[in-house]
Amino acid sequence: MRVPAVFYADEALLADMDDKVREQLCNVASLPGIVGAAYAMPDAHWGYGFPIGGVAAFDAEQGGVVSAGGVGFDISCGVRTLVSNLTRADIVAVQERLAHELSRAIPAGVGSTGRLRLSDHEMDAMLTGGARWAVARGYGSSEDLEHIEEGGCIAGADPAALSHRARERQREEMGTLGSGNHYLEVQWVAEVLDAAAAAAFGLRADAAVVSIHCGSRGLGHQVGTDYLRDMVVAAPSFGLRLPDRELACAPILSDLGQRYLGAMRAAMNCALANRQILTHLCREAFRSILPGFDGRLLYDVSHNICKEEWHAVDGRERRLHVHRKGATRAFGPDHAVVPASLRSHGQPVLIGGSMGTASYVLAGCTTGEALAWSSACHGAGRSMSRNQASRQWHGRQLVDDLAARGILIRSPSLRGVAEEAPGAYKSVERVVDVAERAGLARKVARLEPLVCVKG
């Protein structure tokens, strides 16, 4: 290993981690140009090359690499949270109708398609414009953009670096949620844990909020597929001996590395545009039932990315390519890239729960910079395979049980619901507790679900 492998976990979380997590993090720590350490967040689990919940930074000038496996197939998968002017009681009063309307308005699940069809020219504009493109086309407002990572548009996207297949896969998928662990959830603020930060974030106790978890859809999946193959095939030409093919990577300064970064950034813009369109569809659905609904965007942050960032290394600012695979950027207070209205409390860090369990809003801490390049966890993390889950639970029973607890699930797939059973995930409470105790981020509010639309 070139650098240490560092785990942030308590004894129980460490014991739960598959041996593969340790093996994968050690492999990451052996990659060229890695700086500091390879880090595993408290929700880390066995991934592809990199563990999910892995963070690693590379210096291009020191032979550092960019890894398609280190970003994954679901490029720029992330969470955005909208804060509404409604309360839990307002939602409960119309809960069935709202659940129905949202499930009708939000395309979700296998074979679902969006209403939008993009020409090649519009596709290019979307790939370079991200959420800014979506707002210019009438999806949401310019106020939303201030509360999205990078102002809603990632610079350096290169649509020419995408394959024809990547574009084809997105042709009918703009404004779709996907499946698996992706969701749109209506939630309420069940507990305020940091009053000052919650006030700055607009999170009042009992307020209704909406969280959307999804990514760059088929386009991002195809970029991952294409570049994993290209990087594996090219590895010997770079003198790279990979202990695991899924670590497929290329020097940042190589032509392949640059093409991947251009394609990945285009996929990031696709994800931001997609979440922006879904936000618009969600607002429309709410207003059709609750005309006074106002859903202000709190923040949108991705957790499968590689980004160029400046970080202090041994007292010197260095430009690093930070991979966060199932990990969330978590800049502390007063960081320049955090929107001015939120800056004094740190960047919002949005932690998705699993269907039926709590989600959390955290805030980045100053201490996180030295601990893990200002990164935190991203969710609960699975503790059980999909097959185990579908053997243990029945979708219909889960939907009924959650309905009895006041949580309405709307999904076209009962098997999908069983595979996503809350019991198949680690305790999100334990994960965020450890993140806070480690100094990666601090808890601001706990959110509980009321309606969950899943693919």
Partner: protein, 154 residues
Amino acid sequence: MSQGRARSAGPAAAGGGGDWEHFAHGADIGVRGRGQTVAQAFEQAAEALTAVVTDPSRVRPLVAVPIHCRAPDLELLLYEWLNNLVFHMATQHLLFSAFKVTIVDGELDAEARGEHVDVERHAPAVEVKGATLTELLVRQGPDGCWRAQCIVDV
């Protein structure tokens, strides 16, 4: 690695000289095909891929899609084969249940037959994002049987 037979092909499939199974992965799912030849193992891995989404026996082989791909080695050829299927599943909203594969000198020619997704009848569980390089293996066992496997991201 914790592996366990989960959903798998029944005796009829096994009687045809091949079979498939799923194996566990922390967040996702592994597909594994077995056969007397590499091509047969690839066909079975493809059926295991469909089974991630739905019960293959519910999928009628009504539409034929030709697939051609090549790769520098058999493992990357499996990666290409499964990802070609994923591409056609995603862009044409298809599910496949019957496969005919031939492999000559690192080139694969195949016909995949299936039908368009019917949410009511197929009750699809999850879409496949891509076949990965994790646990990617194409190998002949001491019994002469070929095994073709990898994890798929869902």
